[in-house]
């Protein structure tokens, strides 16, 4: 058994840390989060240069061909600096959906462009009902003859749709779209839709976490041709679930990286901040809280690392592990970020200090791909409670 990272992975970590410290310090994060795009073409091009936009795509599609365990290392580093921009949406949602569900032609056409930084994509899955299961998909795709479809409905909480060139839209096709079968996993189809398609309207939403951009996407009779269908009509949920599982592990890793950084910032501060003539870290009221934070962070990492391995290896308990990880990490990051503010006192509550970037990222991440309550219920189902 080796529950650790390889030399190559440690090298990737060191490279990513150095790159992000230079290219994405908090001054840059603050500049970017104030823009609607959340990134710049120059920064995006540098991510492409590093190979990170195609990290887990096969080499045949312009990627680097690495696995989820490698991805975890990179995501931890991105979370460490609260990197803004459409990485998660482009690579792990839009990109992976293309990889999992797309035809050879679709993959050949789009994945190299995503890896090269020329095309951005996202996944339009969730709706105002705010569900992460198949039942949440109520947008419809009506067949209009010759394999063409017309898409209607409203998608909500769509990450980075405003800067995406392509949207992978989940909608119901065929008889499952209405009547008794509505809501089941059968009947969910995926469509590749250009953002500029007529009838598709994207509205950027003001969000608490400004480093994560969320959109409303209205589909008012968007007509798409036959080759817009990604995979088999009505069979889109299975590949989508695989996309969501991997994106969830990646998100968990990003959250672990953020939580680790909050712990470090708080520990550093507790060593230098003097109160009643002593560093506050000498007081058990502070020291014990910091120890609790460490326990949360270490357990969050442990389950995330295991899950990454399980997903890479298609282990029988991979689905269970994903839900265990998201439940654990959602609570851990929120609590650690909250404790970080508490132990910093007043300075931690200022806009000037970086802690709120982490606190808000913890909150947005908590609700992305289902919160802890959602995933605990999934665990309960999967262990046959």
């Amino acid at each position: 058994m080796n529950f650790g990272f390889s030399e190559e992975q440690e090298l990737l970590r060191a490279t990513a840390r150095k790159f992000l410290e230079n290219e994405c310090p908090s001054s840059t994060v603050r500049k970017l989060m104030d823009t609607p795009e959340g990134t710049t073409p120059e920064f995006w091009a540098k991510l492409a240069e590093q190979g990170w936009l195609g990290l887990i795509f096969p080499e045949a599609y312009g990627g680097v061909g690495l696995g989820v365990v490698d991805l975890v290392v990179l995501m931890e580093e991105m979370g460490r600096v609260v990197m803004p921009g459409p990485y998660l949406s482009t690579v792990l949602l839009g990109g992976l959906a293309l990889l999992e569900a797309g035809s050879e032609a679709q993959k050949k056409q789009w994945l190299p462009k995503i890896a090269a930084g020329e095309t951005r994509a996202t996944l339009a899955l969730t709706e105002p009902n705010a569900r992460w299961d198949a039942q949440g998909v109520t947008a419809t795709a009506a067949a209009t003859g010759g394999g063409a479809f017309t898409l209607s409905g409203t998608k909500l909480f769509v990450p980075d749709a405003h800067v995406a060139d392509l949207l992978v839209v989940a909608a119901r096709t065929g008889p499952g779209a209405v009547g008794a079968a509505a809501g089941s996993e059968d009947g969910v189809s995926l469509f590749l839709v250009p953002r500029r398609a007529p009838g598709l309207e994207v509205t950027l939403l003001p969000t608490m976490d400004q480093t994560r951009k969320l959109c409303e996407v209205k589909l008012a009779g968007v007509r798409v041709p036959a080759d817009a269908l990604l995979g088999v009509a009505g069979q889109g949920w299975r590949p989508l679930r695989r996309v969501l599982e991997r994106a969830t592990v990646a998100l968990c890793a990003e959250m672990c990286g953020g939580a680790q950084r909050v712990l470090e910032m708080t520990t550093e501060y507790a060593k230098i901040r003097i109160a009643f003539g002593k560093p506050i870290g000498a007081y058990q009221g502070v020291k014990h809280k910091a120890a609790d934070m460490l326990v949360e962070v270490e357990n969050a990492k442990s389950i995330t690392y295991y899950t990454a391995w399980a997903v890479d290896e298609n282990a029988p308990d991979a689905t269970l592990a994903v839900s265990m990880a998201k439940a654990c990490v959602s609570d851990a990051y929120r609590r650690v970020a909250g404790a970080g503010i508490q132990l910093h006192g007043g300075i931690g509550f200022t806009w000037e200090h970086d802690l709120h970037l982490y606190f808000k990222r913890a909150k947005s991440s908590e609700f992305t791909f289902g919160d802890a309550t959602h995933h605990r219920e999934r665990v309960a189902q999967l262990i046959n409670l």
Binding site: M1, N2, F3, G4, F5, S6, V69, L263, T267, A270, K271, K278, P279, G281, A282, Y283, Q284, V286, K287, H288, A290, A291, D292, L294, V295, E298, N299, A300, K301, S302, I303, Y305, Y306, A308, W309, E313, A321, M324, A327, C328, T373, R376, E377, V379, A380, I383, L385
Partner: protein
């Protein structure tokens, strides 16, 4: 990262599993549900016999050197054994302090004679060990211990008192910390002795606990004469030796704790399936489902945190931060599990052994009460947090 077992590890797991299938003590089954507990008095004979049979089969002291009766294997096999014992709901081993603490410390500091004399009998359960650290005025602040050992020729004369000494009433030997130089700074004047509990002047008085049982004790020393060959690791070097014991305690006992947590959780889920709340099975109650699922998640997290620590050990590194979090995490999770067991039982939680209405003969009530000791024994949670804060996070001492 490679978590797939090797063919050797798989065959070791098969070996353990096959053995357990044919050798589980029949009398143990009634005690299953609450068996996350430490051995109770009436189970000693059964547990001693159980350890002997495990030992005869080669499953005790896996990581110990072969020349002292061990198998020279790694912590990987130790982990596999613990997992399989949990799956089989096997009883714990009786001489847990000997195997988990005294033995590894003797391996680290003992003379050849000491190793040959003590190690095999620890493994075979012929000699049971207890730990003489805490005193009435030295608990978390262990270095203030006052039990004296005064040199007299080739012997030391021991006077003083220990307290909260688990298993002392059935033990043959004690890991004793005593002050040999009262003038030295408090950490420097302590010596580690291997003390024969049957010597004249040793008196053991059981203490009744909140469970009603008496598994721990006061131990009094009145002019007990200990030969100087019983010093372990050098005179006035006892603090370093004693801390080694504690490191092994957290490390080795971790496997046992993980096993007991898993057994208790499986037992809790079985109980929850049978119990009803407001007309439906407890496992269908949305709030209790959340709590049970959380315990499942926490148990798995602790398992993987332990696996990360083992990876470091296998690579020959010292345990990293994840090792020091193990005990704290286990304590918190186990106490929450026992609280939930009471919540699931509702008003029946009030009934103990002796009532026909008691759930599972009151075993959970005992385990629930016993679990309060978890955050005190083996270093209180507050001390663990000091250790993590100071040694792992580098925060200043208070």
């Amino acid at each position: 990262m490679e978590l797939t077992p090797t063919p050797e590890q798989r065959s070791f797991r098969d070996e353990v599993r096959a053995w357990l299938r044919g050798n589980m003590p029949r009398q143990w089954t009634a005690r299953l549900a609450a068996s996350s507990d430490v051995p109770r008095a009436e189970a000693y004979d059964l547990l001693r016999d159980w350890q002997r049979r495990l030992h005869a089969a080669g499953f005790i002291g896996l990581t110990w050197p072969r020349e002292y009766g061990g198998r020279g294997l790694t912590f990987m096999e130790e982990m596999i054994l613990a997992e399989e014992m949990a799956l089989a709901k096997a009883p714990p081993v009786l001489n847990i302090l000997g195997i988990g603490m005294a033995g590894p410390t003797i391996i680290a500091y003992g003379t050849e004679e000491q190793k040959k004399r003590y190690l095999p009998k620890i493994l075979s359960a012929d000699e049971i060990w207890c730990q003489g650290y805490s005193e009435p005025n030295a608990g978390s602040d262990l270095a203030s211990l006052q039990t004296r050992a005064v040199r007299d020729g080739r012997e030391y004369v021991v006077d003083g008192q220990k307290v909260w000494t688990s298993l002392a009433h059935t033990s043959d030997w004690m890991m004793l910390l005593a002050r040999t130089d009262p003038d030295a700074p408090r950490h420097k004047g302590i010596t580690y002795f291997l003390l024969d509990m049957h010597l004249p002047g040793v008196t053991v008085k059981p203490l009744r606990q909140i469970t009603g049982d008496a598994e721990f004790n006061e131990v009094f020393f009145d002019g007990v004469r200990v030969h100087d060959s019983q010093v372990l690791g050098g005179v006035n070097n006892g603090w370093a030796v004693g801390m080694t014991t504690l490191m092994y305690e957290r490390l080795a006992l971790g496997f046992g704790l993980q096993m007991r947590l898993r057994i208790a959780l499986d037992g809790l889920i079985e109980m929850a399936r049978r119990a009803e709340k407001a007309g439906h099975a407890v496992t269908k109650d949305p709030v209790l489902r959340q709590k049970i699922a959380q315990l499942w998640i926490d148990t798995e997290c602790l398992k993987y945190t332990g696996a990360r620590a083992i990876t470091r050990l296998l690579k020959g590194e010292m345990p990293g931060p994840e090792a020091s979090t193990g005990k704290m995490g286990w304590v918190e999770t186990h106490q929450r599990l026992q609280e939930l067991a009471m919540e699931i039982q509702g008003p029946y939680a009030q009934l103990v052994k002796g009532s026909d209405w008691a759930v599972e003969d009151g075993l959970w009530q005992h385990a629930f009460l016993r679990s309060r000791a978890n955050s005190i024994e083996g270093g209180t949670t507050e001390i663990q947090k000091n250790i993590i804060g100071e040694r792992v996070l580098g925060l200043p001492k208070g």
